[in-house]
Amino acid sequence: MMDQQLISTSFTINRKEYKVSVAPWSSLLDVMRETLDLTGTKKGCDHGQCGACTVLINGKRVLSCLTLAVMKEGAEITTIEGIAEDGKLHPLQQAFIDHDAFQCGYCTPGQICSAIGMLQEGKAQSRAEVKELMSGNLCRCGANTNIIDAIMEIKEGAAHA
């Protein structure tokens, strides 16, 4: 019964093409984590309330728990596993390590993807605005100040460049 309802969908994740048969109600998050073994993207709530599942879709930050996989036909998806290139960390990833911007690390993939998306949006000018626009990403460990320090280092570095 369930089998008949599967829909074939294709998209790229981290520059690799995937073709999957998924139920129409499957979230992109569950498909990645359970079917494609891409477990870097985290589930903290499944309700759009924590930001742990943030990925970049066509360059924009998106909550993958609120995204149905079948809606993303043809999309270019980047997850935390695709942020580093050829084993070389993205500067923001290095900044997270340098600033000790995580403890348990569970919010980290979402924070990093969200921050990259936020910086690309180009709206935040100040630290206060960065904090505001990153507030959809919860950190229960309380690494908040270190997370914002890491993001500001990259933001200011980019501004000087």
Partner: protein, 745 residues
């Protein structure tokens, strides 16, 4: 040039790469072949009995394998004691799927197992349950009259009862010069680590299982599973490599572990059970607690009388306790004291230690009453603490193994700019906002438990150390590697630390801020034993340059043993292994706290928190604009990760004082905000300038490392300091947490 000691260095987390690239795997992320998925069904009533259980519709779906409930579960250990874990309070541990009885709202009553996660989740909605409901009681405040003393048991050892009364409190209070009293109300809180609880159990055949579990105690879970399911301990392996936060929620084996193992053993397949966010509110919480204080002082500010009473919630089946009322007399001298701690059993799940259990609750009452009393006396709150500075632990009469709280006050006040404070409430303003300064003192006991550790030198001359301990995000991996490196004078790169696996050397649960003291000391002991062994073997080698040297005559550095007097006379560790026919040389050691020495001392970390708040009087909005926490916790092994621990405690303080609260509807006996949208924790925009100071504190007594734990101390002082700052800003003393803007309107 020899390697610098690693202890004391600010070193970035060794697992940083894994955590920033998404390659760190957590318990629910092991996608093993042939995996089945379990989804839990929870009771929708609070008390009563299941009359009818019908899973036909769920089972009719292709791909649904089985629905477990009390009527078809396998028979299990029937002694209650076999369900007791290392952290079980006195009473009868909860036994999932035991029978038809419902003890609390959200109790797990069934596990639906299916071929996919989505299917299990959907099928769980088709399970039909009819209940017979009974009347229940969940309201602490309405039932305080029935409070009684807690039962005592084994696990109570770490949680001493209130100290005996001293002097004559009532007489002293009645006649005192200045008095302050308060009623402090704290609601329920849930740990809510960001990672959902999950267990993946792999069935290995012949009664053997490998379990990936979200826990703070691999060995604790191994013993629990062995006992409950009647398996040999050696056939149960519990692995917990990365833990996405826990804060106490993983101290006891949780029901997803039980259900996952049960299903895997029954179905002889791998089964994963992951809870959802709502279910994260169904297995333990910080208990609601009501406290009453009455403090009195003489005109010179010296405290004369302290009375602190707490009434806390527990479940009907276990007497969970916290240390709430013991702190005031550890911090301040007074000749007349009266401390009481009582419980009210209600129809809820047993409470569970949550970051700074008891301390963050009790110290709010103590430190806000102290603050109120300082205003009564017209003495600066910091000055008032200094007048009442206890040189020894007044509650036991014992000296502290070390106590640099005075430095915390001094350095914290200086960094914060406490001297700028105007004494009168409502006297400081910034634009149209009221500004308030508040401070408070913190204390947390420095404990140590027995543990084992294994240390080994491999054929490359590198050190491998291991322990079953977990790393819940506290930096355990990095810190233990540092400690291990120094035992043999090695560079960090030449040391690996393996952890999070019950088959490794025994470690107790990770909590209570005792991990560095416990596991770190065991590593130090194992390292020393290994060093001695290497030295003996080195002396026996042909043409050994160590000759007749004694152990005291050599030093370990750069992968060598060298004679102190003749730095060129060296033997490489790897050559000792070669001479040992290439076989690794190892030592596994059990390390016990030095109880005979320790019993003469009280041991505690101290802190002082200074907070600035801004309050918008028209809107009531409260903002913690900046805060400083100064900590005296002995030797800080890694200032970088330690600072993060304190920062985390400070964010939790803001959360506790101003944000988080689980709200119960007592008509239904049910939590009403079981999600992260309505269970508020601070977001980035709520967190402003936070500053951490570690003051110098030398302690040769507390343990081999001279290091006290820091997991809780960041949350000990600051919640009260926030409340005190709000009083200073507004003149309103709000003793109910969290403080909401409508409290100030």
């Amino acid at each position: 040039m020899s390697t610098q000691p690693a202890i004391g260095q600010s070193i970035s987390r060794l697992e940083g790469f894994e955590k920033v690239t998404g390659s760190a795997k957590y318990a629910g992320e092991y996608n093993v072949p042939d995996l089945l998925y379990g989804y839990v069904v929870n009771s929708t009533i609070t008390k009563g009995e299941i009359l009818n259980f019908n899973a036909d519709a769920a089972l009719a779906l292709p791909g649904v394998i089985k629905v477990f409930y009390y009527g078809n579960r396998p028979s299990l250990a029937w002694f209650n004691m076999q369900y007791a874990d290392m952290d079980a309070p006195p009473g009868t541990p909860f036994r999932p799927l035991q029978d038809a009885e419902i003890k609390y709202n959200g109790q797990p009553i069934a596990l639906v197992v299916a071929e996919s996660f989505e299917l299990a989740k959907y099928a769980a909605t088709l399970v039909k349950v009819d209940y017979k409901e009974e009347t229940f009681t969940t309201d602490l405040i309405a039932n305080q009259a029935s409070a009684r003393s807690p039962k005592v048991g084994l696990a109570t050892a770490l949680k001493p009862p209130p100290p005996k009364p001293v002097g004559d409190f009532e007489a002293a209070y009645d006649t005192a010069f200045a008095k302050a009293s308060g009623k402090f109300i704290h609601g329920t809180e849930h740990h809510n680590p960001l990672e959902l609880f999950a267990t993946t159990t792999i069935y290995e055949g012949k009664g053997k299982v490998t379990i990936y579990d979200k826990t703070q105690g691999t060995v604790n879970c191994q013993l629990y599973v062995g006992n409950v399911f009647g398996l040999h301990f050696k056939d149960v392996r519990v692995i917990s490599p990365y833990v996405g936060g826990a804060f106490g929620s993983g101290l006891r084996p949780q029901y997803q572990l039980f259900l996952s193992v049960m299903a895997a053993l029954e179905l002889k397949r791998a089964v994963r059970v992951t809870l959802d966010r709502t279910q994260m509110f169904s297995f333990g919480h910080r208990p609601p607690t009501t406290q009453f204080t009455r403090f009195a002082a003489a005109a010179d500010g010296s405290l004369r009388a302290i009375n602190h009473t707490a009434i806390a919630e527990t479940s009907r089946f276990e007497d969970y306790t916290e240390v709430v009322v013991n702190w005031a007399h550890m911090l301040y001298p007074a000749k007349n004291t009266l401390m009481e701690y009582k419980l009210v059993p209600l129809d809820v799940f047993s409470p569970l230690d949550m970051r700074a259990p008891g301390g963050s609750t009790g110290l709010h009452a103590v430190e806000s009453t102290m603050d109120a009393l300082s205003y009564q006396l017209g003495i600066d709150p910091l000055e008032f603490r200094l007048i009442n500075y206890a040189e020894k632990d007044e509650s036991t009469g014992r000296p502290y193994s070390s106590k640099e709280l005075r430095k915390c006050y001094e350095e914290g006040a200086a960094r914060f700019g406490w001297s700028e404070r105007l004494p009168q409430p409502r006297s400081m303003k910034r634009g149209n906002k009221l500004v308030g300064y508040g401070m408070a003192t913190g204390i947390w006991e420095a404990m140590q438990l027995p543990a084992r550790a294994k240390a080994l030198i491999n054929a490359e001359g590198k050190l491998e150390v291991s322990s079953a301990v977990t790393d819940i995000g506290t930096g355990t991996l990095t810190v233990m590697t540092q400690i291990a490196a120094d035992t043999l004078g090695l560079a960090m790169d030449d040391v690996t630390f393996s952890y999070g696996d019950s088959k490794m050397a025994f470690a107790p649960i990770q909590g209570g801020s005792f991990t560095v003291a416990t596991v770190g000391s065991a590593i130090k002991a194992a390292g020393l034993a290994l060093a001695k062994k290497l030295f003996r073997k080195a002396k026996q080698m042909q043409n050994s340059p160590l000759g007749k040297a004694k152990f005291e005559d050599v030093e370990f550095r750069d992968g060598l043993i060298a004679l102190k007097a003749q730095p060129k006379a060296v033997i490489a560790l790897k050559d000792i292994v070669s001479a040992n026919k290439g076989r690794a040389i190892q030592s596994t050691n059990f390390n016990l706290p030095k109880v005979m020495k320790l019993k003469n001392y009280s041991r505690a970390a101290h802190s002082a928190a200074f907070v600035e708040v801004e309050v918008d009087e028209e809107l009531g909005v409260i903002n913690v604009t900046r805060a400083v926490t100064a900590v005296a916790a002995g030797k800080i092994i890694n200032p970088k990760t330690a600072r993060s621990q304190i920062l985390g405690g400070m964010v939790w303080s803001i959360s506790k004082a101003l944000r988080e609260e689980t709200i119960t509807d007592h008509n239904f006996g049910k939590y009403m905000n079981q999600n992260l949208g309505e269970y508020h924790i601070p977001v980035h925009a709520d967190i402003h300038e936070l500053d951490v100071i570690f003051v110098e504190e030398k302690d040769d007594i507390v343990n081999e490392l001279g290091s006290k734990g820091i997991g809780e101390i960041g949350l000990a002082a600051m919640p009260a300091a926030i409340a005190n700052a709000i009083f200073h800003a507004t003149g309103k003393r709000i003793n109910r947490f969290p403080i909401h803007l409508d409290d100030l309107m």
